[in-house]
Symmetry: C2
Subunit: 216 residues, 2 copies
């Protein structure tokens, strides 16, 4: 149950929140953890404060004592998530070895799915709903970063250091494959049987897949 936790999002430029006591911080964290569970399973509209309160072991009014609204809880979770979600791609180093960099990126994404499956499903839910709440994030943060790395991949391909492949589809394939292990874990668990971890063998398989794809 000791799931890793995403770092608190820094609202750049916003006024500092009132200082919080230990119990404040602790209960807010309990609520966020419960809400992550519920939102990632049922989506924003499908989740209820009742479920979140029960999951958190608190009363409904008590939950609303710590957060202004259902929406505020959800926004808090999303903000923390998005802040972390770009890190693996950001870390891709133009000066490094092309194949090693791409493989390392894939592995970092896979680790995110392994360590933060609920966050991954929260993100998936947002996209399925048409991404209304994260549209600006995708356009203003994700897209420029992807464009930048696509250019880099194109240069690597032109230099003959990796196979000449569409950089956008390469990115999409890494997202799809790594996210899938978190988002479709329920299905994978039923297919593979309860004795197996869904991610068992995933890194080996993806390693082989991209090794073969990228070879010039």
């Amino acid at each position: 149950m000791a799931a890793p936790r995403l770092p608190t999002a820094q609202k750049s430029g916003s006024a500092a929140k009132a200082p919080r006591s230990r119990i404040q911080k602790r209960n807010r964290q309990i609520i966020l953890d419960a809400a992550l569970e519920v939102f990632s399973t049922h989506g924003f509209r499908g989740a209820t404060l009742d479920q979140i309160a029960t999951q958190a072991g608190l009363s409904k009014p008590n939950v609303l004592y710590y957060f202004d609204s259902k929406d505020a809880i959800h926004r808090d979770l999303l903000t923390r998530l998005l802040d972390t979600w770009l890190d693996p791609l950001r870390m891709m180093n133009p000066a490094g070895d092309p194949q090693a960099e791409i493989m390392a990126y894939m592995r970092r994404k896979l680790e995110l799915s392994r360590d933060f499956p609920r966050e991954s499903r929260l993100f998936a839910n947002e996209i399925l709903q048409g991404a209304p709440r994260i549209e600006s994030f995708i356009r203003d943060d994700l897209r420029p970063l992807v464009d930048d790395k696509a250019q880099l991949l194109n240069e690597w391909a032109k230099a003959g250091r990796i196979a000449p492949i569409d950089p956008y589809h390469l990115s999409i394939s890494i997202w799809a494959l790594t996210q899938h292990y978190a988002d479709f874990a329920a299905q994978i668990a039923m297919i593979r049987g309860d004795g197996h971890d869904a991610l068992e063998g995933a890194e080996t398989f993806l390693g082989a897949l991209y090794t073969r794809l990228l070879a010039p």
Copy 2:
């Protein structure tokens, strides 16, 4: 707007429904189409009869005249979907050329995503929710079929006709990649710009990917 339609599911063994007039059939179809739109976006709990009725251009009680309940609409959609969802894998022919068969399977899955993106998202929503309504389908229908094809892939690998790869991860990768183009279409559209179709170049990329992976 003329989206292709899934065939009516045959409830094997259930009593025949009362015969329906033309207007019955037509309105039921309109409602199913509207409900597919709403359920695939918001999930079961996030969807409301109000949204469905508005989308269908009918009043809420009128919707409930054609279907017993919100749940009945959803069940109808799911049944039609699941019946079709296995077809691409079922069609994989043990007597065919291994690489060609796998590539054809991938292409059929990609076509499903292209032609039935809403059905794909409906399925994704179910899995994200933990697959409570389709657990028996996965265990009793999907899993045996996957096991069967996994055995076939192992035989092909042992005979040296394809590279020796984990057949389960191969299946998972095909699901992940093809479904992703439908389920994450909102994100892909924002990344690639509005002029592009999300699936543009997908078949070429996936073709190269699996050609390289499968080569013995």
